[in-house]
Symmetry: none
Subunit: 241 residues, 4 copies
DNA sequence: AATGAATGAGCATTCATTCAT
DNA sequence: AATGAATGAATGCTCATTCAT
């Protein structure tokens, strides 16, 4: 069967798929021992939360690397250092695991969006700061992969697309629109129609995220520099920085 | 190519996988009968080409609707009106089917990009015409789904990402850069740095494609109108059309 | 013993297994709380005996409703209001739980059989009284289900079939045979060969038990009336009651 | 049809369950080779029917030996000499396999019941002939096990209990009642109330079936002799045969 | 070439049993 | 003693791939 190509970025492959059964880390004990060693003590609830966190992290890695359908819960369990059955103590099934995972992972994005942008100086500065944050913390981290994951699986998981639209996209659009209108009022932006398409502001960031996961090795992209040029288009020539 | 030509927009998903069994058209016979009826007679080679085209079209629909891993060749065969074994007369295995498919599907995109843009008037007009074409023929058709498919599966199919980068992206970028430089030379664009990031030109088109498949039902997007505002940012306020 | 004493008739099945997840009372805590509340205090041994009784009752319900293989110890524990591990403080494993259970449940049957039938008047009266008891206390109660359970699982649990044969069947047959012979001696029964097949006396009772659990809803059966007709066949026309 | 035709009595269990994994006859190939050898040639449809018959026979053996829940489809496949997937070409899932199996197996019983009893002489002779047939062909063969299987699984498969009641029990009862009434009319039976409980006629046969599968090794039962005594009770002392 | 029945490795999920707390 | 989280072998079912017809 499939060769199971290697993922270009993060996550080391959790096992060879078709031919060779992964050398089957028969060492959940070892793994949990390691966990135990790391931390001085932990009561029942803490340990459970820890395990859950390990599962979440492992599942995220696998789902990002392989997509929903191709991810094997066996691999998730191995990577998390737990037995297969343990997954089911925390999640009803693979599908809910995926959906809950995405929701959880999206929360930091929401927090970013929700942080009321501090408009102390020009709007452009606020947008630029926002973009810096986004690019550093999302486009260049695993969170960017989550966005790609949503793009990839969204059509098969309408609940996820809905959730993402509601919690992130529509809120982000509203915030962008407010910023744009403020900038128009202040005369920083002359293009009044821009308020109708706040997507235009973030489009380069989205493209950067996609570019990083698909083409980074062919042609690295300086996302931040690109975004600054983009801002120049919107706000007019860059001030002599 | 022909046969099930255009199916101009998204295929309705044939069923959620995990829970509901797809309503699996139980009529391969019927389908192939229809095929046979369409054309009076056909020699061996023609029939084979026809079958292959049917398979390609069917596979495209299924891969778009479900992604690589979740697509069942059974469904592809059913939809194409052929037996399962027949698929293997045309493709080595599921993986090569997928890869060849993408390559095939990407050719029209290449052709679009390769068509030397007619610069008879302002560069902006050329770009606008290009965008109109792109949006009509890609963002609003099934071809847009192919782009999403590449985004979704690219990391698992580096060969495809490579191919796509080489054949479409890098060529498109080069063409864009040339246009930008021409426009800068002519004074249509003042932002000189834009030439370094031709991605900025197409970013809204990419975002439109993604938006359509994820959020169209929440908030339809007038991709063309958006793109025109985008062009105003780049080329300056729209001429009084 | 007590506690959930009565449950006089069939337990409603907790859910079809393959398709629907049982509505799994999520309240072991609540249940055991109730237990604790019922009785002011209890020393260690008493509490243990109580728990064991609760487990036995719960297990009986589940085994009757689902059979051995399909019964989940999780459900038994939940129904008994104890933790899963507690089951193993009382029983070695599922199999011994089942076997001990049956043995326990069969004891009342034995007691019934062993009670020396009071022959104060005609043998027929004794047999009729016996049948009344059997039908009221067995065929029409959960104990009848135990007989069906033995029929169902006997071939897979030879130890149980052996035990049941030894403790109930052979003793019952002997008692029946004695009664028959007494009746023959007294001239109440003319059919001498009946003594060779004491099964014939109880056959209608067995059939009644099976009928109740399989066909009661299609066609209710008046077991006692049937048995009286049966006695008429054996002892001759019923006296003008 | 044939092959493992008659297997007149109980099947030896196909493997120890809990402790030892069955020595796993890894020889489906061998088995099907044997099949092929037995028969000169066979077209597609014939082979399919043959396979299905093999599956049906194997499944029957396993279900009888272990009950529904404890039967492993792996074992069924092994015994039938086919691959696991093949089972699913013939049956939707384990549950429908079981239900269809029972239905199929019950047909011969129906045929027996439906055969209009030839009343050429005394009714008693007709009943006696019926009983002989029943005991030879059912109580003493694997068909008896099917009755036990229905008793065992009926409560978990209401559809089966319904079917069995409708197709066998109610029809059999009606036939019995007609015979009884004829006998009453002719003066062969004096007990008029017997017509209300035709179950009484067959009760010893049912008991014999159960006895055979549970207690045969403890105390063999001459079912036919027992039934003759039973008939004497109903029709009066046996004629000097 | 075309078919589709057959295969069997693969995988999600369940559940008896154990054991640290 | 009691708990219930954790385990992992077991099992129903799927589906890419093969191959006899």
């Amino acid at each position: 069967m499939a060769k199971r190509t290697d993922m270009p970025t993060r996550t080391p492959p959790a096992g060879r798929r078709t031919t060779i059964r992964a050398a089957a880390a028969k060492t959940p004990k070892a793994a949990s021992a390691k966990l135990a060693a790391e931390r001085p003590a932990a009561n029942r609830a803490e340990k459970s939360a820890e395990r859950r966190a390990a599962i979440v992290a492992a599942a995220m890695d696998e789902f990002i690397a392989r997509g929903f359908a191709a991810t094997r819960l066996d691999d998730v369990a191995k990577r998390a250092g737990v037995a297969k059955g343990t997954l089911y103590l925390h999640f009803k099934d693979k599908e809910s695991m995926f959906e809950e995972l995405i929701r959880t992972a999206v929360v930091p994005l929401i927090d970013r969006m929700a942080a009321p942008p501090q408009i102390t100086g020009p709007v452009r500065d606020a947008v630029e700061r926002f973009a810096e944050t986004f690019i550093h913390e999302i486009a260049e981290t695993r969170r960017g992969d989550i966005i790609r994951l949503i793009v990839a699986e969204g059509p098969r998981f309408p609940a996820i697309a809905d959730f993402y639209f509601r919690e992130v996209v529509s809120r982000g659009m509203a915030a962008m629109r407010a910023l744009i209108q403020l900038a128009i009022t202040r005369g920083e932006i002359r293009q009044r129609e821009l308020a109708q398409f706040p997507q235009l502001i973030v489009a380069p960031a989205i493209v950067a995220v996609i570019w990083q996961s698909l083409f980074a090795r062919h042609a690295p992209l300086d996302a931040l520099a690109m975004f600054r040029v983009h801002l120049d288009l919107i706000f007019g020539e860059r001030r002599t920085a």
